[in-house]
């Protein structure tokens, strides 16, 4: 244990900030930072413990994936009492899809914490989701199942798991929002601008105003995605006012 901790401490460039940055992402204090350091150690660092076992986040992905699957399973089980086994399985795969995990990892900017010998630009897109899974694995080792559940609720279920969207009943939040504005005779404006900054990829930001008041903001790699994200946020902010076509 000590051994791994020492190896990690000597290799982590950002030791000082790491605890704070992890704390911010988790929303609770880590007990044992070591687990999180493993979760952000890329295989290119080529670290090994005294027995020659590799130290990097790949095994934690396996663990985190399992925890994520079981937390989502229990959420869906309780949330959708009318859904049979096949339905629950399908919904879960939508939530834990590679694409979705990559988005979650990106939003948390996990890649900024990675210790690696490879430049960030050379990682594929999947690194975001892999880090997200590894982080969940680290939470499990550090604080147990309950904290995993808590983290997944805060970071995945509350902001992203909307059963009706997953079922495809809501096709586009933008069209829902526009429809509502027209019905309510409100003006709306999507103000989109280039916001690439230091990123490798081009990014766009959007400010969505309703009746000239900014109601939500979003940033994404395409104009369309940024608009949809901002619409979704506005939708949830206004959710008591706007009703979904299939809601009861």
């Amino acid at each position: 244990m000590k051994n791994i901790r020492n190896i990690l401490n000597s290799r982590f460039k950002r030791n000082g900030n790491f605890f704070m940055e992890i704390h911010k992402i988790l929303g609770f204090k880590p007990k044992e930072v070591k687990f999180y350091k493993v979760a952000f150690t890329h295989r290119s660092m080529n670290l090994k413990d005294s027995k020659g076992n590799a130290i990097n986040y790949e095994r934690l992905e396996f663990l985190g994936d399992a925890m994520l699957s079981s937390v989502i399973a229990s959420h869906l089980y309780l949330e959708v009492p009318s859904g049979d086994e096949g339905y629950l399985t399908k919904m879960r795969s939508k939530i834990v899809s590679r694409e979705h995990l990559n988005e979650l990892g990106k939003e948390l900017k996990l890649i900024n914490l990675v210790e690696s010998k490879i430049p960030q630009g050379q990682f594929g897109d999947n690194i975001h989701g892999n880090l997200f899974e590894a982080l969940i694995g680290a939470i499990f080792l550090d604080r147990g199942y309950k904290y995993c559940e808590k983290f997944i609720y805060t970071r995945v279920i509350i902001p992203y798991v909307d059963i009706e969207t997953l079922e495809g009943k809501v096709i586009s939040y933008k069209s829902l929002l526009i429809e509502w504005c027209q019905k309510e005779k409100k003006t709306f404006n999507y103000n989109v601008y280039d916001d690439t900054g230091n990123d490798q990829l081009r990014h766009f930001s959007v400010k969505l105003s309703i009746n000239d008041k900014v109601i939500s903001k979003a940033r994404a790699t395409s104009k369309k995605k940024a608009e949809e994200k901002a619409s979704k946020r506005a939708f949830f902010a206004l959710q008591n006012k706007i009703s979904k076509p299939n809601s009861v």
Copy 2:
């Protein structure tokens, strides 16, 4: 909640014994028997709650499968620090294979608790594993993750998860045992007899004696399986004395 409980109470033939039987299988007291009743309600009972949702064990299979996968994942992660992601995934699928789950369900004789309109003989082999998964799902709902973990350790990991056997390093416990007896100049005897009883399928029992002392017993659907099972049990009973070919 009350509604489901009443429906189940009115349909369960063995209400009186059910609590006791479940208690025996679990090794701890159930808090809310209702969940376990759902876990043993076959779809042929055609039960529905007041909202028209089906009450049977099929959704619980989904939940139990997820819990089983995550408990096994965390066990393997901690137990095999040298195993990479691919290895861990492969080992887990061996442990939670359909065949293995069916065996586990059979050993606990879960089928005897099922409420169904179909005679037992008409169920396929998979019902045993399905009930085992559903039971784990019920434990999760009743007592949470910790108790699931406890149950899976007692019923799956401790008796059945031997990493070297899973890796295929130990081909046959019988040959290992015979080899050891010969080396140690001990006599051994596999006493096999027909033990079908009231079962649908033919069953065999075996008593394994070493130096005329019965060391283990087992029962299975073939002579070979019963002998292997008894050998494995003897192996674990004698484990400090016999060493596996690949052990350190």
